[in-house]
Amino acid sequence: MADLTTKLGPLTLKNPVMTASGTFGYGAEYEEYFPIRKLGAVVVKGIAPWVSNGNPMPRVAEVTSGMLNAIGLQGPGVEKFLHDGHYLPFLRKAGAVTIVNIWGKKIEDYCEVAERLTAEKEGIAALEINISCPNVKEGGIAFGTDPVMLKKVVSAVRKSTTLPLITKLSPNVTKIADFALAAQDAGSDIISLINTIPGMSIDIETFRPRIANVTGGLSGPAIKPIAVRMVYEAAKAVSIPVIGMGGISSAEDAIEFFLAGASAIAVGTAIFSNPAAPVEILAGIDRWLDGHRIGSLSEIVGQVKIQEKK
């Protein structure tokens, strides 16, 4: 048994495996497959100040080694999340370490959700700011693709909460290091990346896009090399810890992210084909470390060997 304790700035987790927001519902949906308290953290689907219907159907399309989605952040809103037994009260009872992903249309919306969650924070380990959803017009990605806007929203949320703060970065930028630094400068304790990459798929019989929103976010094994590269570039640029995600479906995939510089990882789309993927990946990480006689996960974080150019 290697030491899997994961220190992410002010946040300490018993292991490095989380779920990616939007792929694990609010935790309750998976309790019958494994005890969700076993995870380093459960990151719940995005919470806004209001109830949100999301996008029209169809919302997903399967593509080679991945899928496109444009769910559009359907969700119960912060008050229902706090008080309805299906949401936070369930996560508390299940003993889950909960990270709440938050979103809004304006900066004040983000602050409002952060304040409400902080006021009733029992069972909430951290907040993750979603400025990278490619499927909602306002908010979401508009904040994530402009470093000035990113700083504004992160600084404002920083003032609205005492909880550890994670900023989830968009991959849809030219230089990820600038955005990672902007998040760090604005007071984010941790960064997480990557969110999905915009894509499109067309039904060649009907000539229609396969998703009602026309475009959707690509996730799954297809995006993993992009994610590893961006985690590598972001981790090099900042001194705060990085949570890596994007197409992880095995322990070996996870190890790649650790080597690239991630201190923790999140499993997302893989859960759809195997609900137990997060705990199987956790066990696999442990086995891999033992097999390589490495006593502590932290020893391999960022240890990719790059030959210096002469």
Binding site: G22, Y33, N53, E62, M67, I71, Q74, I271, F272
Partner: protein
């Protein structure tokens, strides 16, 4: 729950229609009519999602689960190629099934195409035998009629091309069946294409007959987590408004009065 299930047989019923039998004691013990299983097809390497299938039949004593399916795309084509002995991950039973009829209820089952797979357990377990109204594009698409007759359900058929039975829509047979069932405690159970189900739902609401409809959606997680398979239902707090309901969790079976037809 998620089980590793061995394929016991996988045969062609006719044309593009197939039947696969799994050894799945955990699912067979619990499954109710209208629920579904979510299957990972092991040979679909570069396609990452599971495929949902209605539970057609179960044998709890022998631990058998039967799925009857049509070859419609890559997933089902690969499924049709699985030999006995192959092993699949099968999640189930998933979702909310039909309300089982009681002794007084006269069940009128209405199925379009391979929708007849989803209503079969109702016929098998109904304390009072009713009738199956089976619709299809043509005679080639009629499946399972003999099995319904074997469990005591007479079958009335409608085909769009008139090749077998009534020429027209199965909903036209329903009007007749409802008239014949006057005075009985009729309950309509439907499964098939959305257009047919909506027509069915509206007709039953107008006639004041209880109805439950099973909607067929492409699914992703199958557990209620991803919100990909949503269906518009009336918003309980404001009936003129709608909200999206997860068909894999709150459905796939909905009461006719729950659905939003706008």
């Amino acid at each position: 729950m998620d089980y590793e299930c061995k394929v016991l047989s996988n045969t062609c019923l006719k044309g593009e229609y197939f039947r696969i039998v799994f050894s799945a004691p955990g699912i067979a013990a619990k499954a109710k009519a209208g629920q579904f299983v979510h299957v990972r097809i092991p040979t679909l390497r570069d396609r990452i999602l599971r495929r949902p299938f209605s539970i057609n039949d179960t044998d709890p004593e022998k631990g058998l689960l039967t799925v009857t399916y049509k070859k419609v795309g890559r997933g089902t084509a690969e499924l049709a190629g699985l030999p006995p002995g192959a092993v699949c991950s099968v999640m189930g039973p998933q979702g909310k099934g039909y309300t089982l009829p009681d002794k007084e209820t006269f069940p009128i089952l209405v199925a379009g195409g391979y929708g007849s797979a989803a209503t079969f357990l109702l016929a098998k377990h109904a304390p009072r035998k009713g009738v199956l109204l089976l619709g299809a594009r043509s005679g080639e698409d009629l499946i399972l009629a003999e099995e319904y007759e074997r469990v005591g359900f007479p079958v009335k058929i409608a085909t769009n091309d008139g090749s077998v039975g009534h020429k027209g829509f199965v909903t036209e047979l329903l009007e007749e069946a409802l008239a014949e069932a006057k005075g009985k405690k009729a309950f309509v159970y439907g499964c098939g294409p959305e257009g047919m189900l909506f027509a069915l739902g509206k007709l039953c609401l107008a006639e004041n007959v209880k109805a439950e409809l099973s909607l067929d959606r492409n699914m992703c997680c199958g557990t209620g987590a991803c919100f990909a398979c949503v269906v518009k239902v009336k918003d309980e707090s404001a009936p003129e408004k709608w909200r999206y309901s997860r068909s894999c969790k709150e459905g796939p079976v909905y009461g006719a009065e729950e659905l939003y037809y706008g």
